[in-house]
Amino acid sequence: MSGADTQVQPRRSGLTRRQKRALSRGVQYAVFIAAVALFAATADWARLKNQFAQWDLVQQMFPDVITLALKNTVLYTMSGFVVGLVLGMVIALMRLSPVGPYRWVAGIYIEIFRGLPALLIFVFVGVAVPLAFPGTEIPGGTYGKVALALGLVSAAYMAETIRAGIQAVPKGQMEAARSLGFSHARAMVSIVIPQAFRIVIPPLTNELVLLFKDSSLVLFLGVTLEERELTKFGRDLASQTANSTPILVAGLCYLLVTVPLGFVVRRLEAKAGEATR
Protein backbone atom coordinates (compact mmCIF):
# COMPACT_ATOMS: atom_id res chain seq x y z
CA MET A 1 0.00 0.00 0.00
CA SER A 2 2.81 2.33 0.78
CA GLY A 3 4.37 1.12 -2.51
CA ALA A 4 1.35 2.42 -4.43
CA ASP A 5 1.74 5.78 -2.71
CA THR A 6 5.33 6.29 -3.84
CA GLN A 7 4.29 5.69 -7.46
CA VAL A 8 2.24 8.88 -7.44
CA GLN A 9 4.25 11.84 -8.73
CA PRO A 10 5.22 13.97 -5.74
CA ARG A 11 4.25 17.63 -6.05
CA ARG A 12 7.35 19.75 -5.89
CA SER A 13 5.58 23.05 -5.56
CA GLY A 14 2.13 24.45 -5.38
CA LEU A 15 2.32 26.00 -8.88
CA THR A 16 0.23 24.79 -11.80
CA ARG A 17 1.86 24.22 -15.19
CA ARG A 18 0.57 27.52 -16.52
CA GLN A 19 1.87 29.44 -13.54
CA LYS A 20 5.28 27.85 -13.91
CA ARG A 21 5.41 28.81 -17.56
CA ALA A 22 4.45 32.43 -16.77
CA LEU A 23 7.11 32.59 -14.09
CA SER A 24 9.80 31.28 -16.46
CA ARG A 25 8.86 33.87 -19.09
CA GLY A 26 8.89 36.62 -16.50
CA VAL A 27 12.39 35.70 -15.33
CA GLN A 28 13.72 35.75 -18.89
CA TYR A 29 12.30 39.22 -19.56
CA ALA A 30 13.65 40.49 -16.25
CA VAL A 31 17.18 39.27 -17.04
CA PHE A 32 17.08 40.93 -20.46
CA ILE A 33 15.83 44.26 -19.13
CA ALA A 34 18.41 44.21 -16.34
CA ALA A 35 21.24 43.61 -18.87
CA VAL A 36 20.11 46.49 -21.09
CA ALA A 37 19.70 48.81 -18.13
CA LEU A 38 23.12 47.88 -16.76
CA PHE A 39 24.76 48.63 -20.12
CA ALA A 40 22.90 51.95 -20.49
CA ALA A 41 23.86 53.03 -17.00
CA THR A 42 27.54 52.10 -17.15
CA ALA A 43 28.38 53.04 -20.75
CA ASP A 44 30.23 56.30 -21.31
CA TRP A 45 27.77 57.76 -23.84
CA ALA A 46 29.74 60.90 -24.57
CA ARG A 47 32.82 58.88 -25.34
CA LEU A 48 30.89 56.39 -27.49
CA LYS A 49 29.27 59.21 -29.44
CA ASN A 50 32.66 60.79 -29.93
CA GLN A 51 34.16 57.50 -31.12
CA PHE A 52 31.41 56.20 -33.38
CA ALA A 53 29.23 59.08 -34.48
CA GLN A 54 31.46 61.89 -35.70
CA TRP A 55 29.17 63.44 -38.25
CA ASP A 56 31.88 65.53 -39.97
CA LEU A 57 33.96 62.38 -40.42
CA VAL A 58 31.00 60.61 -41.98
CA GLN A 59 30.59 63.52 -44.38
CA GLN A 60 34.28 63.44 -45.16
CA MET A 61 34.01 59.78 -46.19
CA PHE A 62 31.41 60.47 -48.83
CA PRO A 63 31.32 60.00 -51.73
CA ASP A 64 34.59 58.01 -51.78
CA VAL A 65 33.31 55.28 -49.49
CA ILE A 66 30.72 54.42 -52.15
CA THR A 67 32.35 55.41 -55.44
CA LEU A 68 35.75 53.96 -54.55
CA ALA A 69 35.64 51.60 -51.58
CA LEU A 70 32.28 49.89 -52.11
CA LYS A 71 32.87 49.85 -55.86
CA ASN A 72 36.19 48.05 -55.36
CA THR A 73 34.68 45.62 -52.88
CA VAL A 74 31.97 44.70 -55.38
CA LEU A 75 34.53 44.45 -58.18
CA TYR A 76 36.82 42.15 -56.18
CA THR A 77 33.87 40.01 -55.14
CA MET A 78 32.41 39.66 -58.61
CA SER A 79 35.72 38.84 -60.29
CA GLY A 80 36.49 36.28 -57.56
CA PHE A 81 33.02 34.81 -57.95
CA VAL A 82 33.35 34.42 -61.72
CA VAL A 83 36.76 32.76 -61.43
CA GLY A 84 35.45 30.53 -58.65
CA LEU A 85 32.33 29.59 -60.60
CA VAL A 86 34.22 28.59 -63.75
CA LEU A 87 36.90 26.74 -61.80
CA GLY A 88 34.30 25.18 -59.50
CA MET A 89 32.29 23.93 -62.48
CA VAL A 90 35.38 22.30 -63.96
CA ILE A 91 36.33 20.70 -60.65
CA ALA A 92 32.76 19.48 -60.09
CA LEU A 93 32.78 17.78 -63.50
CA MET A 94 36.22 16.30 -62.77
CA ARG A 95 34.90 15.00 -59.46
CA LEU A 96 32.13 13.16 -61.36
CA SER A 97 34.44 11.93 -64.12
CA PRO A 98 34.79 8.22 -64.83
CA VAL A 99 38.54 8.83 -65.17
CA GLY A 100 40.16 8.14 -61.80
CA PRO A 101 43.01 10.69 -61.84
CA TYR A 102 40.57 13.53 -62.58
CA ARG A 103 38.50 12.52 -59.57
CA TRP A 104 41.56 12.33 -57.35
CA VAL A 105 42.93 15.72 -58.43
CA ALA A 106 39.54 17.32 -57.88
CA GLY A 107 39.17 15.66 -54.49
CA ILE A 108 42.63 16.74 -53.37
CA TYR A 109 42.01 20.30 -54.57
CA ILE A 110 38.75 20.50 -52.64
CA GLU A 111 40.28 19.11 -49.45
CA ILE A 112 43.24 21.50 -49.60
CA PHE A 113 41.40 24.70 -50.37
CA ARG A 114 38.53 24.03 -48.01
CA GLY A 115 40.99 23.30 -45.23
CA LEU A 116 43.16 26.40 -45.54
CA PRO A 117 42.32 29.87 -44.19
CA ALA A 118 41.48 32.32 -46.96
CA LEU A 119 44.09 34.69 -45.57
CA LEU A 120 46.81 32.13 -46.20
CA ILE A 121 45.73 31.84 -49.83
CA PHE A 122 45.91 35.62 -50.19
CA VAL A 123 49.43 35.68 -48.78
CA PHE A 124 50.34 32.77 -51.01
CA VAL A 125 49.09 34.49 -54.16
CA GLY A 126 50.46 37.88 -53.12
CA VAL A 127 53.87 36.88 -51.82
CA ALA A 128 54.79 33.26 -52.44
CA VAL A 129 53.88 33.07 -56.12
CA PRO A 130 55.91 36.14 -57.18
CA LEU A 131 58.89 34.87 -55.14
CA ALA A 132 58.67 31.30 -56.40
CA PHE A 133 58.19 32.21 -60.04
CA PRO A 134 60.15 35.43 -60.56
CA GLY A 135 59.09 37.26 -63.67
CA THR A 136 55.57 35.84 -63.68
CA GLU A 137 53.04 38.57 -63.53
CA ILE A 138 49.45 37.82 -62.61
CA PRO A 139 47.49 39.82 -65.19
CA GLY A 140 45.33 42.61 -63.90
CA GLY A 141 47.62 43.66 -61.02
CA THR A 142 45.89 43.67 -57.65
CA TYR A 143 42.52 42.97 -59.28
CA GLY A 144 43.93 39.88 -60.93
CA LYS A 145 45.52 38.66 -57.70
CA VAL A 146 42.31 39.14 -55.74
CA ALA A 147 40.25 37.43 -58.43
CA LEU A 148 42.67 34.51 -58.36
CA ALA A 149 42.87 34.24 -54.57
CA LEU A 150 39.13 34.54 -54.01
CA GLY A 151 38.50 32.27 -56.98
CA LEU A 152 40.82 29.55 -55.66
CA VAL A 153 39.12 29.56 -52.28
CA SER A 154 35.53 29.74 -53.47
CA ALA A 155 36.04 27.19 -56.28
CA ALA A 156 36.49 24.44 -53.70
CA TYR A 157 33.16 25.23 -52.02
CA MET A 158 31.33 25.86 -55.28
CA ALA A 159 32.62 22.61 -56.79
CA GLU A 160 31.06 20.63 -53.94
CA THR A 161 27.80 22.61 -54.24
CA ILE A 162 27.61 22.12 -58.01
CA ARG A 163 28.45 18.42 -57.72
CA ALA A 164 25.65 17.97 -55.22
CA GLY A 165 23.34 19.88 -57.57
CA ILE A 166 24.20 17.68 -60.54
CA GLN A 167 23.67 14.55 -58.46
CA ALA A 168 20.32 15.89 -57.25
CA VAL A 169 18.94 15.88 -60.81
CA PRO A 170 16.95 12.62 -61.10
CA LYS A 171 18.69 9.84 -63.05
CA GLY A 172 15.66 9.57 -65.32
CA GLN A 173 16.52 12.93 -66.87
CA MET A 174 19.82 11.63 -68.22
CA GLU A 175 18.17 8.39 -69.33
CA ALA A 176 15.39 10.25 -71.16
CA ALA A 177 17.94 12.45 -72.92
CA ARG A 178 20.12 9.47 -73.86
CA SER A 179 17.09 7.55 -75.16
CA LEU A 180 16.34 10.50 -77.47
CA GLY A 181 19.84 10.26 -78.96
CA PHE A 182 21.68 12.90 -76.95
CA SER A 183 25.33 12.10 -76.33
CA HIS A 184 26.40 12.08 -72.68
CA ALA A 185 28.13 15.45 -73.00
CA ARG A 186 25.24 17.10 -74.81
CA ALA A 187 22.71 15.72 -72.33
CA MET A 188 24.85 17.14 -69.53
CA VAL A 189 24.97 20.60 -71.12
CA SER A 190 21.35 20.85 -72.35
CA ILE A 191 19.43 18.90 -69.74
CA VAL A 192 21.27 18.12 -66.51
CA ILE A 193 23.40 21.22 -65.81
CA PRO A 194 20.57 23.75 -66.38
CA GLN A 195 18.48 21.86 -63.82
CA ALA A 196 21.44 21.52 -61.45
CA PHE A 197 21.97 25.27 -61.54
CA ARG A 198 18.39 25.94 -60.50
CA ILE A 199 19.00 23.74 -57.50
CA VAL A 200 22.27 25.44 -56.52
CA ILE A 201 21.33 29.10 -57.02
CA PRO A 202 20.47 29.64 -53.32
CA PRO A 203 23.72 28.08 -51.97
CA LEU A 204 25.75 29.89 -54.65
CA THR A 205 24.21 33.21 -53.62
CA ASN A 206 25.18 32.37 -50.07
CA GLU A 207 28.74 31.80 -51.31
CA LEU A 208 28.60 35.25 -52.91
CA VAL A 209 27.85 36.77 -49.50
CA LEU A 210 30.82 34.93 -47.97
CA LEU A 211 33.09 36.14 -50.78
CA PHE A 212 31.86 39.68 -50.28
CA LYS A 213 33.15 39.56 -46.73
CA ASP A 214 36.36 37.71 -47.64
CA SER A 215 37.23 40.39 -50.17
CA SER A 216 38.39 42.44 -47.15
CA LEU A 217 41.49 40.21 -47.05
CA VAL A 218 42.87 42.21 -49.96
CA LEU A 219 44.17 44.38 -47.12
CA PHE A 220 47.11 41.99 -46.85
CA LEU A 221 48.18 42.28 -50.47
CA GLY A 222 49.22 45.89 -50.13
CA VAL A 223 47.05 48.08 -52.31
CA THR A 224 47.34 51.55 -53.75
CA LEU A 225 44.99 54.34 -52.73
CA GLU A 226 42.86 53.71 -55.77
CA GLU A 227 42.56 50.01 -55.04
CA ARG A 228 41.27 50.27 -51.49
CA GLU A 229 38.06 48.51 -50.60
CA LEU A 230 35.71 49.03 -47.67
CA THR A 231 37.73 47.51 -44.84
CA LYS A 232 41.04 49.07 -45.84
CA PHE A 233 39.36 52.39 -46.53
CA GLY A 234 37.67 52.42 -43.14
CA ARG A 235 40.74 51.28 -41.25
CA ASP A 236 43.05 53.83 -42.89
CA LEU A 237 40.75 56.69 -42.03
CA ALA A 238 40.18 55.35 -38.53
CA SER A 239 43.89 55.26 -37.78
CA GLN A 240 44.47 58.68 -39.39
CA THR A 241 41.81 60.30 -37.26
CA ALA A 242 42.08 58.05 -34.21
CA ASN A 243 38.35 57.64 -34.39
CA SER A 244 36.12 54.58 -34.95
CA THR A 245 33.38 56.26 -36.97
CA PRO A 246 34.87 55.17 -40.36
CA ILE A 247 34.81 51.54 -39.19
CA LEU A 248 31.14 51.86 -38.36
CA VAL A 249 30.36 53.43 -41.73
CA ALA A 250 32.33 50.77 -43.61
CA GLY A 251 30.46 48.10 -41.66
CA LEU A 252 27.12 49.63 -42.57
CA CYS A 253 28.18 49.61 -46.24
CA TYR A 254 28.77 45.84 -46.05
CA LEU A 255 25.36 45.33 -44.48
CA LEU A 256 23.84 47.45 -47.23
CA VAL A 257 24.70 44.62 -49.62
CA THR A 258 24.74 41.46 -47.47
CA VAL A 259 21.38 41.98 -45.77
CA PRO A 260 19.39 42.32 -49.03
CA LEU A 261 21.37 39.41 -50.53
CA GLY A 262 20.54 37.28 -47.50
CA PHE A 263 16.90 38.19 -47.99
CA VAL A 264 17.11 37.14 -51.66
CA VAL A 265 18.68 33.80 -50.66
CA ARG A 266 15.83 33.05 -48.25
CA ARG A 267 13.28 33.94 -50.94
CA LEU A 268 15.01 31.71 -53.49
CA GLU A 269 15.19 28.85 -51.01
CA ALA A 270 11.50 29.18 -50.21
CA LYS A 271 10.68 29.20 -53.93
CA ALA A 272 12.89 26.19 -54.61
CA GLY A 273 11.13 24.40 -51.77
CA GLU A 274 7.75 24.99 -53.42
CA ALA A 275 8.92 24.10 -56.91
CA THR A 276 9.96 20.54 -56.07
CA ARG A 277 6.96 18.88 -57.66
Binding site: P170, G172, Q173, E175, A176, A177, R178, S179, L180, G181, F182, S183, R186, S190, I191, P194, Q195, R198, A275, R277
Partner: protein, 266 residues
Protein backbone atom coordinates in the same frame (compact mmCIF):
# COMPACT_ATOMS: atom_id res chain seq x y z
CA UNK B 1 -2.60 -6.65 -87.79
CA UNK B 2 0.38 -8.92 -87.61
CA UNK B 3 2.73 -7.80 -90.34
CA UNK B 4 5.22 -10.07 -91.95
CA UNK B 5 8.80 -9.33 -92.97
CA UNK B 6 12.22 -8.97 -91.38
CA UNK B 7 12.45 -8.77 -87.59
CA UNK B 8 12.66 -5.16 -86.41
CA UNK B 9 13.93 -6.18 -82.99
CA UNK B 10 15.96 -9.32 -82.49
CA UNK B 11 17.29 -10.49 -79.13
CA UNK B 12 19.69 -13.45 -78.99
CA UNK B 13 20.67 -15.32 -75.85
CA UNK B 14 20.59 -12.18 -73.71
CA UNK B 15 22.00 -12.33 -70.20
CA UNK B 16 22.19 -9.52 -67.68
CA UNK B 17 23.52 -9.61 -64.13
CA UNK B 18 23.67 -6.92 -61.49
CA UNK B 19 26.53 -8.18 -59.36
CA UNK B 20 25.57 -11.69 -58.25
CA UNK B 21 21.95 -11.13 -59.18
CA UNK B 22 21.24 -12.69 -62.58
CA UNK B 23 18.22 -10.79 -63.86
CA UNK B 24 18.09 -12.11 -67.43
CA UNK B 25 19.03 -15.75 -68.02
CA UNK B 26 19.09 -16.19 -71.76
CA UNK B 27 16.35 -14.36 -73.65
CA UNK B 28 15.56 -15.01 -77.31
CA UNK B 29 12.92 -12.80 -78.87
CA UNK B 30 11.98 -11.50 -82.29
CA UNK B 31 9.58 -8.67 -83.01
CA UNK B 32 8.54 -8.11 -86.61
CA UNK B 33 7.90 -4.77 -88.19
CA UNK B 34 4.53 -3.34 -87.19
CA UNK B 35 4.06 -5.90 -84.45
CA UNK B 36 2.83 -4.94 -80.98
CA UNK B 37 4.30 -7.14 -78.26
CA UNK B 38 3.29 -6.85 -74.62
CA UNK B 39 5.71 -8.19 -72.03
CA UNK B 40 4.03 -9.22 -68.79
CA UNK B 41 5.28 -10.86 -65.65
CA UNK B 42 5.71 -10.43 -61.91
CA UNK B 43 7.95 -7.69 -60.56
CA UNK B 44 11.57 -8.72 -60.58
CA UNK B 45 11.01 -11.01 -63.57
CA UNK B 46 13.43 -8.93 -65.65
CA UNK B 47 10.92 -7.48 -68.12
CA UNK B 48 11.96 -3.84 -67.63
CA UNK B 49 15.64 -4.82 -67.80
CA UNK B 50 14.98 -6.61 -71.08
CA UNK B 51 13.32 -3.50 -72.48
CA UNK B 52 16.17 -1.28 -71.30
CA UNK B 53 18.69 -3.60 -72.95
CA UNK B 54 17.03 -3.02 -76.33
CA UNK B 55 18.24 0.60 -76.45
CA UNK B 56 21.26 -0.15 -74.27
CA UNK B 57 20.20 1.89 -71.24
CA UNK B 58 21.37 -1.30 -69.55
CA UNK B 59 24.49 -2.95 -70.88
CA UNK B 60 23.86 -6.70 -71.34
CA UNK B 61 26.35 -9.06 -69.74
CA UNK B 62 26.15 -11.44 -72.68
CA UNK B 63 24.19 -11.84 -75.90
CA UNK B 64 23.17 -9.70 -78.82
CA UNK B 65 20.42 -7.22 -79.64
CA UNK B 66 19.62 -6.07 -83.16
CA UNK B 67 17.30 -3.19 -84.01
CA UNK B 68 16.47 -2.62 -87.67
CA UNK B 69 19.42 -4.78 -88.69
CA UNK B 70 21.99 -2.83 -86.64
CA UNK B 71 23.65 -4.61 -83.75
CA UNK B 72 23.01 -2.44 -80.70
CA UNK B 73 25.36 -4.51 -78.56
CA UNK B 74 28.33 -4.01 -80.92
CA UNK B 75 30.89 -2.12 -78.79
CA UNK B 76 31.76 0.10 -81.75
CA UNK B 77 28.20 1.00 -82.73
CA UNK B 78 27.21 4.68 -82.80
CA UNK B 79 24.71 4.23 -79.99
CA UNK B 80 23.34 7.77 -80.26
CA UNK B 81 22.49 7.17 -83.91
CA UNK B 82 20.77 3.87 -83.08
CA UNK B 83 18.78 5.40 -80.26
CA UNK B 84 17.38 8.06 -82.59
CA UNK B 85 15.43 5.26 -84.25
CA UNK B 86 14.10 3.90 -80.93
CA UNK B 87 11.58 5.94 -78.97
CA UNK B 88 11.27 5.22 -75.27
CA UNK B 89 8.53 6.05 -72.80
CA UNK B 90 9.25 5.74 -69.07
CA UNK B 91 7.12 4.91 -66.08
CA UNK B 92 8.04 8.25 -64.47
CA UNK B 93 7.51 10.26 -67.72
CA UNK B 94 10.90 12.00 -67.34
CA UNK B 95 9.84 15.20 -69.06
CA UNK B 96 12.41 17.98 -68.78
CA UNK B 97 10.90 20.17 -66.02
CA UNK B 98 12.90 23.27 -66.93
CA UNK B 99 11.45 23.36 -70.45
CA UNK B 100 7.93 24.07 -71.67
CA UNK B 101 5.93 21.31 -73.38
CA UNK B 102 6.87 22.58 -76.83
CA UNK B 103 10.53 22.97 -75.88
CA UNK B 104 10.51 19.40 -74.57
CA UNK B 105 9.66 18.36 -78.13
CA UNK B 106 11.79 20.84 -80.06
CA UNK B 107 15.07 20.74 -78.11
CA UNK B 108 15.87 17.08 -78.88
CA UNK B 109 14.96 17.57 -82.54
CA UNK B 110 17.21 20.58 -82.83
CA UNK B 111 20.15 19.30 -80.80
CA UNK B 112 20.11 15.69 -82.00
CA UNK B 113 18.57 15.78 -85.48
CA UNK B 114 19.79 19.31 -86.29
CA UNK B 115 16.38 20.31 -87.58
CA UNK B 116 15.89 24.05 -87.99
CA UNK B 117 13.66 26.00 -85.65
CA UNK B 118 10.61 26.23 -87.89
CA UNK B 119 10.61 22.57 -88.86
CA UNK B 120 11.11 21.42 -85.25
CA UNK B 121 8.21 23.65 -84.15
CA UNK B 122 5.98 22.31 -86.91
CA UNK B 123 6.72 18.68 -86.06
CA UNK B 124 6.26 19.40 -82.35
CA UNK B 125 2.85 20.96 -82.95
CA UNK B 126 1.76 18.07 -85.17
CA UNK B 127 2.74 15.48 -82.55
CA UNK B 128 1.14 17.37 -79.67
CA UNK B 129 -2.00 17.42 -81.77
CA UNK B 130 -1.75 13.66 -82.27
CA UNK B 131 -1.79 13.02 -78.53
CA UNK B 132 -4.57 15.57 -78.05
CA UNK B 133 -2.57 18.18 -76.15
CA UNK B 134 -2.21 21.00 -78.66
CA UNK B 135 -3.63 23.49 -76.16
CA UNK B 136 -0.89 22.67 -73.60
CA UNK B 137 1.95 23.71 -75.92
CA UNK B 138 3.15 26.55 -73.68
CA UNK B 139 2.51 24.87 -70.32
CA UNK B 140 5.28 23.53 -68.11
CA UNK B 141 5.31 19.83 -67.17
CA UNK B 142 4.69 20.52 -63.47
CA UNK B 143 1.30 22.05 -64.30
CA UNK B 144 0.11 18.93 -66.14
CA UNK B 145 -1.57 15.82 -64.77
CA UNK B 146 0.35 12.55 -64.87
CA UNK B 147 -1.67 11.35 -67.85
CA UNK B 148 -0.99 14.55 -69.76
CA UNK B 149 2.73 14.37 -68.92
CA UNK B 150 2.90 10.83 -70.22
CA UNK B 151 1.17 11.82 -73.46
CA UNK B 152 3.66 14.67 -73.89
CA UNK B 153 6.45 12.15 -73.29
CA UNK B 154 5.01 9.95 -76.05
CA UNK B 155 4.77 12.97 -78.37
CA UNK B 156 8.39 13.86 -77.56
CA UNK B 157 9.54 10.39 -78.58
CA UNK B 158 7.38 10.45 -81.73
CA UNK B 159 8.75 13.83 -82.81
CA UNK B 160 12.10 12.12 -83.40
CA UNK B 161 10.47 9.90 -86.02
CA UNK B 162 11.31 6.53 -84.42
CA UNK B 163 10.87 3.17 -86.15
CA UNK B 164 10.31 1.38 -82.86
CA UNK B 165 8.67 2.46 -79.61
CA UNK B 166 9.54 0.99 -76.22
CA UNK B 167 7.11 1.49 -73.32
CA UNK B 168 8.32 0.77 -69.79
CA UNK B 169 5.17 0.41 -67.63
CA UNK B 170 3.78 3.64 -69.09
CA UNK B 171 0.63 3.67 -66.95
CA UNK B 172 1.94 2.29 -63.66
CA UNK B 173 2.56 5.71 -62.09
CA UNK B 174 -0.84 7.11 -63.10
CA UNK B 175 -4.02 7.55 -61.11
CA UNK B 176 -6.49 4.93 -62.37
CA UNK B 177 -8.81 7.43 -64.05
CA UNK B 178 -5.95 8.82 -66.17
CA UNK B 179 -4.77 5.48 -67.55
CA UNK B 180 -7.35 5.43 -70.34
CA UNK B 181 -6.05 8.55 -72.14
CA UNK B 182 -2.53 7.15 -72.35
CA UNK B 183 -3.73 3.73 -73.51
CA UNK B 184 -5.87 5.41 -76.17
CA UNK B 185 -2.78 7.12 -77.60
CA UNK B 186 -0.88 3.82 -77.56
CA UNK B 187 -3.77 2.05 -79.27
CA UNK B 188 -3.75 4.76 -81.96
CA UNK B 189 -0.03 4.20 -82.52
CA UNK B 190 -0.57 0.45 -82.79
CA UNK B 191 -3.34 0.99 -85.35
CA UNK B 192 -0.97 3.18 -87.37
CA UNK B 193 1.42 0.26 -87.64
CA UNK B 194 4.15 1.31 -85.18
CA UNK B 195 6.41 -1.48 -83.97
CA UNK B 196 5.90 -1.50 -80.21
CA UNK B 197 7.35 -3.36 -77.25
CA UNK B 198 5.28 -2.68 -74.15
CA UNK B 199 6.05 -3.74 -70.60
CA UNK B 200 2.70 -3.46 -68.85
CA UNK B 201 0.27 -4.74 -66.25
CA UNK B 202 -2.76 -3.62 -68.29
CA UNK B 203 -4.21 -6.99 -69.29
CA UNK B 204 -7.15 -5.47 -71.17
CA UNK B 205 -4.75 -3.49 -73.33
CA UNK B 206 -2.58 -6.54 -73.91
CA UNK B 207 -5.58 -8.66 -74.82
CA UNK B 208 -7.11 -6.15 -77.21
CA UNK B 209 -4.13 -4.40 -78.81
CA UNK B 210 -1.16 -6.76 -78.70
CA UNK B 211 -0.34 -9.12 -81.54
CA UNK B 212 1.72 -11.17 -79.14
CA UNK B 213 2.05 -11.47 -75.39
CA UNK B 214 5.28 -12.60 -73.75
CA UNK B 215 5.16 -13.84 -70.17
CA UNK B 216 8.45 -13.61 -68.28
CA UNK B 217 9.35 -15.01 -64.89
CA UNK B 218 12.70 -15.45 -63.17
CA UNK B 219 14.68 -13.93 -66.04
CA UNK B 220 13.39 -16.26 -68.77
CA UNK B 221 10.51 -16.19 -71.23
CA UNK B 222 8.01 -18.74 -69.96
CA UNK B 223 5.33 -18.33 -72.58
CA UNK B 224 5.11 -16.49 -75.90
CA UNK B 225 2.03 -16.41 -78.10
CA UNK B 226 -1.13 -14.60 -79.09
CA UNK B 227 -3.13 -12.88 -76.33
CA UNK B 228 -5.74 -15.60 -76.65
CA UNK B 229 -3.10 -18.24 -75.96
CA UNK B 230 -1.09 -16.58 -73.21
CA UNK B 231 -3.81 -14.65 -71.38
CA UNK B 232 -6.84 -16.65 -72.48
CA UNK B 233 -5.50 -20.18 -72.13
CA UNK B 234 -2.08 -20.16 -70.49
CA UNK B 235 -0.33 -23.49 -70.73
CA UNK B 236 2.12 -22.95 -67.86
CA UNK B 237 1.34 -23.09 -64.19
CA UNK B 238 3.44 -19.97 -63.48
CA UNK B 239 1.47 -17.94 -66.04
CA UNK B 240 -1.86 -19.08 -64.60
CA UNK B 241 -0.73 -18.24 -61.11
CA UNK B 242 0.44 -14.77 -62.11
CA UNK B 243 -2.72 -13.98 -64.06
CA UNK B 244 -5.05 -15.13 -61.31
CA UNK B 245 -3.31 -12.88 -58.81
CA UNK B 246 -3.34 -9.96 -61.24
CA UNK B 247 -7.00 -10.30 -62.24
CA UNK B 248 -8.28 -10.86 -58.74
CA UNK B 249 -5.74 -9.67 -56.15
CA UNK B 250 -8.25 -9.87 -53.31
CA UNK B 251 -8.65 -13.62 -53.80
CA UNK B 252 -4.99 -14.43 -53.30
CA UNK B 253 -4.18 -16.65 -50.34
CA UNK B 254 -1.37 -16.15 -47.91
CA UNK B 255 0.98 -18.73 -49.28
CA UNK B 256 4.23 -20.40 -48.43
CA UNK B 257 6.43 -20.59 -51.51
CA UNK B 258 4.75 -23.42 -53.43
CA UNK B 259 2.47 -21.82 -56.02
CA UNK B 260 -0.37 -24.34 -56.03
CA UNK B 261 -3.09 -22.12 -54.61
CA UNK B 262 -3.98 -20.76 -58.02
CA UNK B 263 -5.76 -23.66 -59.66
CA UNK B 264 -8.79 -21.75 -60.77
CA UNK B 265 -6.99 -19.08 -62.86
CA UNK B 266 -8.01 -19.22 -66.50
Amino acid sequence: MSASGTPEIQVRDLHKSFGDNEVLRGIDLEIRQGEVVCVIGPSGSGKSTLLRCVNLLEEPTKGQVFVGGTEVTDPDVDIDAVRRRIGMVFQQFNLFPHLSVTENLTLPQRRVLRRDKAEAARIAAANLDRVGLAEKADAYPSSLSGGQQQRVAIARALAMGPEVMLFDEPTSALDPELVGDVLAVMRMLADEGMTMMVVTHEMTFAREVADRVVFMDGGVIVEDGTPAQVIGAPSHERTRHFLSRLLDPAMADVEEEAPDAAEKGS
